[in-house]
Symmetry: C2
Subunit: 503 residues, 2 copies
Amino acid sequence: MAEKITPRSSDYSQWYLDIVHRAGLAENSDVRGCMVIKPHGYAIWEKMQRALDRLFKDTGHVNAYFPLFIPKSFLAKEEEMAEGFAKECAVVTHYRLKAVPGKGVQVDPDAKLEEELIVRPTSETIIWNTYRNWIQSYRDLPLLINQWCNVVRWEMRTRLFLRTAEFLWQEGHTAHATREEAEEEARRMLDVYRRFAEEWMAMPVLTGPKSEGQKFPGAVYTLCIEAMMQDRRALQAGTSHFLGQNFAKAFDVQFQTAEGKLEYAWATSWGVSTRLIGGLIMTHSDDQGLVVPPRLAPIHVVVVPIGKTDAERRDVVAAAHSLAAALRDWPREDFFGYEPITVKVDDNFNQSPGFRFNEWELRGVPVRVELGPKDLAQNACVLARRDQPGKESKQAGVPLAEAPARIVSLLKAMQQDLLERARQWRDAASYEVNSYEEFKAMIEEPGGFLWAHWDGTRETEERIAAETKATIRCSPFDRPEEPGRCILTGRPSAGRVVFAKAY
Amino acid sequence: MAEKITPRSSDYSQWYLDIVHRAGLAENSDVRGCMVIKPHGYAIWEKMQRALDRLFKDTGHVNAYFPLFIPKSFLAKEEEMAEGFAKECAVVTHYRLKAVPGKGVQVDPDAKLEEELIVRPTSETIIWNTYRNWIQSYRDLPLLINQWCNVVRWEMRTRLFLRTAEFLWQEGHTAHATREEAEEEARRMLDVYRRFAEEWMAMPVLTGPKSEGQKFPGAVYTLCIEAMMQDRRALQAGTSHFLGQNFAKAFDVQFQTAEGKLEYAWATSWGVSTRLIGGLIMTHSDDQGLVVPPRLAPIHVVVVPIGKTDAERRDVVAAAHSLAAALRDWPREDFFGYEPITVKVDDNFNQSPGFRFNEWELRGVPVRVELGPKDLAQNACVLARRDQPGKESKQAGVPLAEAPARIVSLLKAMQQDLLERARQWRDAASYEVNSYEEFKAMIEEPGGFLWAHWDGTRETEERIAAETKATIRCSPFDRPEEPGRCILTGRPSAGRVVFAKAY
């Protein structure tokens, strides 16, 4: 456990894996491409789920659950979707094994399915097949449904949280009476994602449409939130799709309008996944370990009592527990509004204080309280903020009576500061680039978000990607109006788009 | 929508399906044996999850997530498990489809897996394979982990919620240093299930071990909670297994004891599933529709304003919303401790009051408030309790100022009364039976729980099951000590066990 984490500067990839392992977030399983999400990683996912679920419900959505399996023929009904997902599908062909004496268990050839089933890579098809029975009239609309579930995409190159064969996510699937309403919904949910990314994850994001080449198979267009990691690469962190009438037509979902006409319903879908945990890590963590923004921290505060003699230990542990109780009772209105403060008292005196400090630093607890006999003699304690490691930023001599209020204000400040720091990082690594030569050089060094003019064609996008490995991340909604010339072809462009190398 | 629900007395099975459909709980999907859990059904599951998750965490457990897929060879490692589950496994054999022009998509024969993957029917094998790396020393124990997920068992005869090919559940998997600790854990979690069944679901349960013939494949023994439905049939509602060292041995999970010896870890597993929703329905619902105990109701109170003129409607709607606000602000400490009261104001004046009353009755909202101009003129409202349908039990003229407190006390009373009523129902349909002739007659008419002596052999149990379709539900922990003679063989018995026909 005392092994050092690889510094970011020497090997960013290894640093990431070290954090994931050492902070107890996840590990690879013996099933190819599938991960085990360990308790600490899952606790962060639970906090994310809780917050997102609240945001979805506050915007009128309800949860439901649809089958894991999709008949193969459903996938074929929407052509782009079939093309997009067919290459990475887990296929169920049999429904029984049989024990063969001396040979373990084997697939029973007599139990072959008439039609193969796909393990859902995403649920548009099975859900729109169901919506056909739910939608008869404009009165049944809008239908605003979300699902929390697992999905499978048979990725060949996987990376914990960022790209795994199975992952956990939510997928919203809504049906509307008009194109306008559906487009508004796609924007609304993108904004929910933006708020979640910025206000909970403290991860600033660009928002805007994907290019044709990067959109979701089956969508009319795809909107995304796009973040920058500490290695200046981009991470697509969430997507919201306007699906037009594509799925309604593929699954024959028509409704009677108020005027008595039959029309196909308009659709959106939107999702974020456990990939967000990868984004969280790569936005804030440092060479000491994980850094978690307070609003998503499974444990907000760790109190570490310190003492040598039994009497000393008894007194500091008692003081630690009474501080913990005061924190747990802190009015939730004053702490981001919805969750009590979670406090851990680490009174494992078998380990040195330094070991315990490191351990909680590694696991990303936002605030640490140190409480030794000398502190207690002054009715005081020491506070340390996770995002400001080192001795100089510690606050010593904080009166115990004032500690809860001080800790709450540290948590709030840390939440703000992490966002601000990440925004500064991103902005400092965003460049306007005006020639392809400059582009090719800058995408290698220093990397980052390159704002450049593009002629809007798929051909140009693909050539740039082939030559530089940079892809168009989005055309930001808030880009300045600025006509220009494509860096590759010189053809006219209506405004800059953002290129980057991406996860 | 105005179709009547089939009365329980005329066709209990159809009544159940009518409730499931008409209350919007679930429906069959186009994937054989898989259900769609509709928003209202899923909302009940969310309430169940929230309550159970709290109970698990309060007993020291944490959540994690393990892969959906299990290599075929893992299943073979524990012999009883392989036998128990092999016959009902969904098997993934390929990882890719390909589009065939003019023929849709087909399974790509070049993408055959080297080793087939099973969609988890339960996760002991994949989890114990992982625990091998997590457990080295007694200091790593106990390991107290729970997983919320979907599982698949290829059932041939399915029934919404009660038996479906895919279902949602939680599965706890714990590892311990000693047999005693593991057995204590199995009992502790059974007690958590009992508390949840009784205090949240208002569903009384018997607790005790299953017979050898009914235990979980791979367990040393299985404990269960067993409930009685309104048709006097039994429902196994949750199980907690003591697994001994079976899985530790199958997956070589050894740890170093405090004394430095190597030992295999001791295991438990325990689970409840969406089957509980079926149990909830069949315990409380009536011929008017669903009845949900207040602690699990997605909506606790519906306020139905009534009025003809615009002015009347404006006033009753305003009063309805202010009552709703008062209810939402009710201190949660006074309402079972953890959730705010959920209130719906149904001001859809396009529907008659009677239609709206029926609709919310059908969906099982515990308390209905009726609020018309005449009530408002007296600053009063009418209260109706879902479990006491009919006009005579309505409370009219309840002053609006007192309404929130009255409603809260109705909710509490209803929660208690439902449990009490279900307990009386069960006790009235429980009989001591002393001869096989009597047994065979009573199991047909009236049915119920037959407490009878049994010689403890699998052979006798199987013969009784074959001849009567009754199975041993459990040997209740609190059965009186009463030596006797087996009803079938006359051989000695240490105490009565409970037989019933079961779902």
